[in-house]
């Protein structure tokens, strides 16, 4: 408990210090609970998510960093490795390939990389996975782009 708190505090200070280091990631800690974090990440360019801003919710366990944080998308996203309803993410480093050397910041970077390189063979969103596996890249891209417009971009007045 004490160790996880100390480590999260270190990460918090690091985030404050290097706010502008990575313009694609904005990590914010909950005001009253250091175990709750939210992040805003920009959709990577040259993907259907370009131009969108996606919100992530982090729930950090007390055994952190020996156990991975639980991360999910709060913003709706059409991606084979993200559950369409719950926002759950299927990513090895958040499950069996976790290592205590990862930080919340680096997890965000991994998620951005996952958005650019979907893994259709272990899908949480079967519709999205099937589109990719059947080779319908255009169909996948237009679906993903539509949901990015609908959910991850500011509404045009």
């Amino acid at each position: 408990m004490q160790a996880s708190r100390a480590r999260l505090f270190k990460e918090y200070k690091e985030v404050q210090r290097e706010k502008s280091a990575d313009p694609d990631i904005q990590l914010v800690c909950d005001d009253s609970n250091i175990f709750k974090w939210t992040a805003l990440i920009k959709g990577p360019s040259e993907t259907p998510f370009e131009g969108g801003v996606f919100q992530l919710a982090f729930a950090v366990p007390e055994q952190y960093p020996l156990q991975p944080p639980q991360v999910r998308f709060l913003t709706k996203i059409f991606h084979p490795n993200v559950h369409f309803k719950t926002g759950e993410i299927c990513l090895d480093i958040l499950k069996n390939a976790w290592s205590p050397a990862w930080t919340l910041q680096s997890v965000c970077r991994a998620i951005i990389a996952l958005m650019a390189h979907p893994e259709p063979d272990s899908p949480l969103n079967c519709d999205s996975g099937n589109l990719l596996r059947s080779g319908d890249i255009r169909g996948y891209q237009s679906m993903a782009k539509m949901y990015t417009r609908l959910a991850a971009m500011p509404k045009k007045g």
Binding site: Q63, N96, S99, P100
Partner: protein, 352 residues
Amino acid sequence: MSKRILCKFFAHGACLKGEHCEFSHDWKDPPNNICTYYQKGVCSYGSRCRYEHVKPSWPESSASSSSTISLASRPTSSGVTTVPGVLPELSALSRPYIPPNKPAWSLESMCDDSLENGEIEELEPRNLKPADRSICSFAAAGNCPRGEKCPHIHGDMCPTCGKHCLHPFRPEETEEHMKSCEKKQKHLEALRRSQEIECSVCLDRVLSKPTAAERKFGLLSECDHPFCISCIRNWRSSSPTSGMDVNTALRACPICRKLSYFVIPSVIWYYSPEEKREIIESYKAKLRSIDCKHFNFGNGNCPFGTSCFYKHAYRDGRLEEVVLRHLGAEDGNTVIAKDIRLSDFLSNLHIR
């Protein structure tokens, strides 16, 4: 004289001198908790030193705390037994100018004039061989107040520690000192360089952790990434979550995922493969001298078998002899048989 200061070895329950100790074995006496390194100028432990860092209030005798004692105890240890009756004389002499209610280290006893009129010379007759004469401990500790007039030999300066503590007529001693001094210096240097290194698990500087037990590195045998010993041990012993493989996740380096089978604790970080090998060898040598609790002098069974780092010796000191049994497996390969016990077969047997 120093009977009024609590012996620090006694305080830890391990004074080998017993009743012959120059220091007090009475819990009522106060311990001398002042860091002598700090008083001499530099204490490499800085704010983490367990001794008190107070500046000496007496400018002349900053070095006298240790030297008073060594001077007083010298007659018993060196070859002065040839001069009978010196011992009681000395203690009688020392009594008048050492008030018993004052701790010995706060005295300027050695700058006292009464010592300059020749008792010391009596202690060490001129006819001794130069190699048998001891060197001046004041000069060795920093400066000798008597300078040129000092009746003792002033040692040569050690190039490493800068103290005049090398006996000019005892070459073996000099060599030994130089060797240990260089080793010490190297260790301090390594310790200084290791200060900045951070653990990638807790993101703290390893050598700035609050307790001494935590201020240790855990080196991995197969890669060069630094961690605290507690962090890396916690990670390696944490219960694997579902689907986590012990060998690919827990026993791998958290950074490069290279598999290491053991962790080596070390107070310093290394900068070359040789230094690392040295740390590992000394760690293994230390473990080899400890009896394995699983093997238990032959009464137990060690799960690590031949690869155990601890000593496998019987009560009579005989080391365990290892005979590997090779078995031909069905597919033609040879496997090494783990210990086969009759009880394993019996437990599977069903008696009808």
